[in-house]
């Protein structure tokens, strides 16, 4: 019952705390840093090769399974094609649903998981779940589900980076950098845009800027880009007539498109989240849900084939004036949002970016053709409207205005187009952030209990359970212990307070030395410690976060907070000293400061 060594142990821990060891400088640190850059390049190469393989495999599957327009055109049996259009997404959904049973969370891992791992400084993305998620995304995309390919690529790159860091037994901080490297390489490869890759890794995943992370991430993106330009042959996302420059008044329209695009983005995100919630209440086994979604998608695609798959052709046509009528644009826009929400909500695996590209471009094209009808001007700047709509919808969804701008810039090389996109994104991102949240990923994480709205500091503290600092090196007393004996014990242990724990191990309260002394002095006062007025002390649960513990400390003057497990009949687990909480808080802050401001 007595814990006399408490103080000594406590002092020892103070000495070994790593918080105050500063970052190294000198030749060894430089070599270590260069090693990290080299690791970034290697991860970049591996992630890029995987990305190339993934993209190629999706295209091959689309040809094989009669999803791509080219293969559908080449298949000359109208009846069989109709049956296949419904059967392929449905069966693909079934396979995807069964695959997800093998993932502990019963859902595919996605960029939100990457963000969570980095923002809580946890790192360590699980390789098996990551591989299964990539496989199920491949099947989803291959069988024509209306989902994106960039999300799975980002997660795959991140998983490979994290795996590399673990194989080399690197620390959490380097694990996070390795994750960012994989992410940057995936984006750089998929879009053929290295700057966008670097900025995406910073803007969405790392969420801070540090030279220490920048160099490896840049190396990864560069390697990814070199591999992409040598292996993948792809058409640029947009083409712009050299002569067309928007009129000054059109920039005002681009701003408005940005504002309205934020609402479209909000509708898109709400639709996905809404279907996800509804799917949970469906009386249907989880593996059958994506199959149902696939069948519905296939049936709708018989009527409007534009919604099938990633929609590259639809995206292209949306940048051409006159390819769609205004009514058609509205129809395809609405159906694409519905189809994507259905697929993602019902459990297909895939990203949100590619569908957002299509939805945004259709929305921009709609604005462009309306403006054209109203002003009667020739549609030379039509592609500007399409691109403005595209960035206005995609930037809020992934929470990355700079990345989307850079993608436009790197793909078109057009300054005029990038400026127009800037006008659009200026309003889109803040409006959507105010109304809906920083990005779909942040909203998803919030529903899972990780709130990133106040930044990484709070997220890290919130995801660190206080139980890490639990100790039993405190004075515990049976409630029936006589007051005088309690005073002696506390005095010998040099502690100011004791915790009352009954024979069953249940927590009964907390008494301070001062209270005990007062009770001993008082004539006819309580004989057992249980009768002494217990000090008011907030309790910690085993899952209480460091952040919440810190908040509770504000109203307490005392030594420590008891940790009690309500699930096990108030079992007393130990205490966490106030000083440990403060020290842990300082250590986390210091680590983050070093990560964000250190150079090597």
């Amino acid at each position: 019952m007595l814990a006399l060594r408490a103080l000594r142990a406590y002092t020892l821990r103070m000495d070994t705390s790593p918080a105050l060891i500063g970052p190294g400088r000198g030749p060894l640190a430089v070599v270590r840093f260069l090693g990290l850059v080299f690791l970034g390049a290697i991860i970049g190469a591996i992630a890029a090769l995987f990305a190339v393989g993934f993209v190629t495999a999706v295209l091959e599957l689309n040809e094989l399974l009669l999803i791509s327009p080219r293969s559908r055109m080449m298949f000359d049996h109208a009846g069989a094609l109709m049956a296949i259009t419904v059967a392929v997404p449905a069966l693909g959904g079934l396979v995807v649903g069964l695959l997800h049973l093998a993932i502990p969370e019963r859902r595919p891992h996605a960029p939100a998981d990457v963000i969570a791992a980095v923002q809580t400084r946890r790192g360590r993305l699980p390789a098996r779940a990551g591989g299964l998620s990539a496989l199920s995304a491949l099947i989803s995309l291959g069988s024509g589900a209306s989902v994106g390919q960039y999300g799975p690529l980002v997660h795959l790159g991140a998983t490979l980076g994290s795996l590399g860091a673990r194989l080399l037994r690197l620390g959490r901080s380097d694990d996070n950098i390795a994750i960012a490297c994989g992410v940057a390489a995936a984006i750089a490869t998929a879009f053929n845009a290295p700057l966008a890759g670097i900025v995406f890794a910073h803007e969405v995943v790392l969420r801070h800027y540090a030279l220490r992370a920048f160099a490896p991430v840049a190396a990864a993106a560069l390697v990814g880009y070199v591999i992409a330009t040598n292996v993948l042959e792809r058409g640029a996302l947009f083409h712009v007539a050299d002569t067309a420059v928007p009129m000054p008044w059109e920039f005002a329209v681009f701003l408005v498109i940005g504002g309205l695009g934020a609402l479209v983005a909000g509708a898109y995100m709400r639709a996905i989240l809404g279907v996800t919630r509804l799917a949970g209440t469906l009386p249907l086994a989880p593996p059958l849900r994506p199959a149902l979604a696939g069948a519905l998608l296939g049936l709708t695609a018989l009527w409007v084939p534009d919604i099938l798959g990633m929609g590259q052709e639809t995206l292209r046509f949306a940048t051409i004036a006159g390819a769609f009528g205004s009514g058609e644009l509205l129809l395809v826009l609405g159906l694409k949002i519905a189809a994507t929400a259905l697929c993602l909500g019902m459990g297909f695996s895939g990203g949100v970016f590619s569908p957002a590209l299509v939805i945004g471009t259709l929305f921009g094209a709609l604005c462009g053709s309306l403006v054209g009808q109203l002003s009667g001007a020739p549609q030379e700047t039509f592609v500007f409207y399409a691109v403005c709509g595209m960035v206005a919808v995609t930037a809020p969804v992934i929470g990355a205005p700079l990345t989307t701008l850079l993608i436009v810039f790197e793909l078109t090389g057009s300054y005029a187009l990038t400026t127009a996109a800037l006008a659009s994104v200026t309003l889109a991102s803040p409006i959507a952030a105010q109304l809906f949240g920083r990005s779909l990923f942040d909203i998803q994480l919030e529903t899972r209990g990780l709130d990133l709205s106040a930044g990484r500091g709070r997220a890290v503290l919130r995801s660190t359970p206080v139980i890490e600092h639990l100790t039993r090196e405190c004075v515990t007393l049976l409630p029936e212990t006589p007051v005088s004996e309690a005073v002696t014990v506390l005095g010998q242990a040099r502690h100011g307070e004791a915790y009352l724990v009954d024979a069953g191990g249940r927590y009964r309260g907390c008494v301070t030395l001062a209270d005990l002394e007062a009770a001993r002095e008082a004539r006819g006062g309580p004989q057992a410690v249980a009768e002494v007025t217990a000090a008011q002390r907030p309790l910690l649960r085993p899952d209480t976060s460091l952040w919440d513990a810190m908040a509770r400390l504000q109203d307490v003057t005392g030594e420590a907070l008891p940790v009690v497990d309500a699930a096990a009949q108030d079992a007393f687990l130990g205490v966490v000293f106030e000083a440990s909480i403060a020290r842990a808080y300082l250590r986390h802050s210091d680590e983050m400061r070093r990560e964000e401001h250190g150079t090597g």
Binding site: P69, M74, E313
Partner: protein, 383 residues
């Protein structure tokens, strides 16, 4: 092995290791034992089926005559205008008169699937003079199951130099720009090439062209663009477009680059080729099933696809050699002294924005695309 099989195959006897070894032994010995009869076989005449005209003249000078000079085997040439009907009839009748056929790759692919051609291995090809293996020397896609590409020809747009004072068309979109480049056009009466160019004029990337043409929306966009042209002369025979241009009846016309070259260089017609958007197609050698002398045919193909012979052919008619090593050896036209390198479709300057025809796509869709195009043409002409 091929020789052994032809003369000695014991019908229906499964090949045990022993007979297999015997065959191998015989195959090794064959050239030694039967060298004399092989010489005697040179009385056999090799029959080549080709396209006639200027193309045949160039082939005679660059391939057939040198082949006879080097082997003593005479070459006889038969003419055709493409198509598989004749070959199909001949194979069915069991009387195939030809040993080698000069075919477009798309027809060779279709004929091969129908079983009208013998399989052809690229292993028979000679390496480049510097020792580069044929597999690396030939352009990608040169080796089919039954056919080997020897040259690459292009369908291009040519325009009259005097039609647009102070301006010249630079992109394929200009074919459809009647504001800047007014005047009648001549186009081939087929959907192929026209649809591609019409959609390219919307500035879509070449890589996505056939995916976009596979949708109703893409087809309609392309036909819409074609429909914007006021006056189209539809041609069918290859010599029509140079003639229409020469007579001044049209200002721009599509056609085969060899024919335009002929008009430009040999007949002095004031025209220029617009290489942007040129549609490249492969021309191949193939051996029909049931050819009288398949071994001689293989021998001829090996000879006719050497770097030297391909370069010689391209000096006489501006079709691009399928071998990289031959492309760099092409020099001047033997009669006119024109630098032929500038006129072949695969020259880097000309090929920069070339389009490879998706022959697999056409092989499967031609019937439906033709119907669709025919309907559109009928409505257009009905108006």
């Amino acid at each position: 092995m091929a020789r052994v099989e032809r003369y000695r195959r014991p019908a229906g006897v499964p090949g045990s290791t022993l007979t297999w070894l015997a065959r191998l032994w015989l195959a090794l010995l064959w050239p030694v034992l039967f060298a004399a009869p092989a010489e005697a076989a040179n009385d056999e005449v090799l029959t080549v089926l080709s396209w006639g005209g200027a193309y045949e003249r160039a082939q005679r000078a660059a391939l057939f005559e040198p082949y006879t000079a080097s082997t003593g085997r005479r070459v006889e040439v038969a003419q055709y205008d493409g198509g598989l009907a004749g070959l199909r009839r001949a194979v069915e009748a069991g009387e195939v008169p030809w040993d080698v056929i000069d075919m477009t790759r798309s027809e060779a692919m279709a004929a091969c699937e129908e079983g009208l051609l013998r399989p052809l291995s690229p292993a028979l090809l000679a390496p480049a003079p510097d020792g580069t293996p044929a597999e690396q020397d030939f352009l990608p896609g040169s080796f089919g199951r039954c056919a080997i590409t020897h040259t690459i020809f292009a369908t291009v747009v040519a325009y009259r130099r005097d039609a647009f004072p102070g301006k010249r068309p630079t992109t394929i979109a200009d074919l459809f720009d009647q504001q800047q480049f007014p005047g009648p056009r001549a186009l081939q009466r087929t959907p192929a090439v026209n649809l591609e160019w019409a959609l390219l004029s919307y500035r879509v990337p070449r890589e996505e062209l056939y995916g976009l043409l596979s949708t109703r929306r893409g087809l309609n966009l392309a036909l819409e663009r074609l429909g914007e042209l006021d006056e189209i002369h539809w041609w069918e025979a290859g010599d029509t477009p140079p003639r229409l241009l020469a007579e001044g009846r049209v200002v721009m016309a599509s056609g085969y680059n060899g024919r335009f070259f002929d008009a430009m260089v040999n007949r002095g017609v004031p025209i220029e080729i617009l290489w942007d958007g040129q549609v490249q197609e492969h021309e191949t050698w193939a051996i029909p099933r049931g050819s009288p002398y398949p071994e001689a045919a293989r021998d001829f193909i090996r000879f006719a696809t050497t770097t030297e012979r391909l370069a010689e052919l391209s000096r006489r008619i501006p079709y691009g050699p399928a071998r990289r090593s031959a492309a760099v050896q092409v020099t001047t036209h033997p009669d006119s002294g024109v630098d032929m390198r500038l006129h072949i479709p695969t020259h880097p300057l000309n090929a920069e924005r070339a389009l490879a025809k998706d022959e697999a796509w056409y092989a499967r869709t031609l019937g439906r695309i033709n119907d669709y195009f025919g309907d559109w043409l009928a409505t257009r002409e009905g108006e």
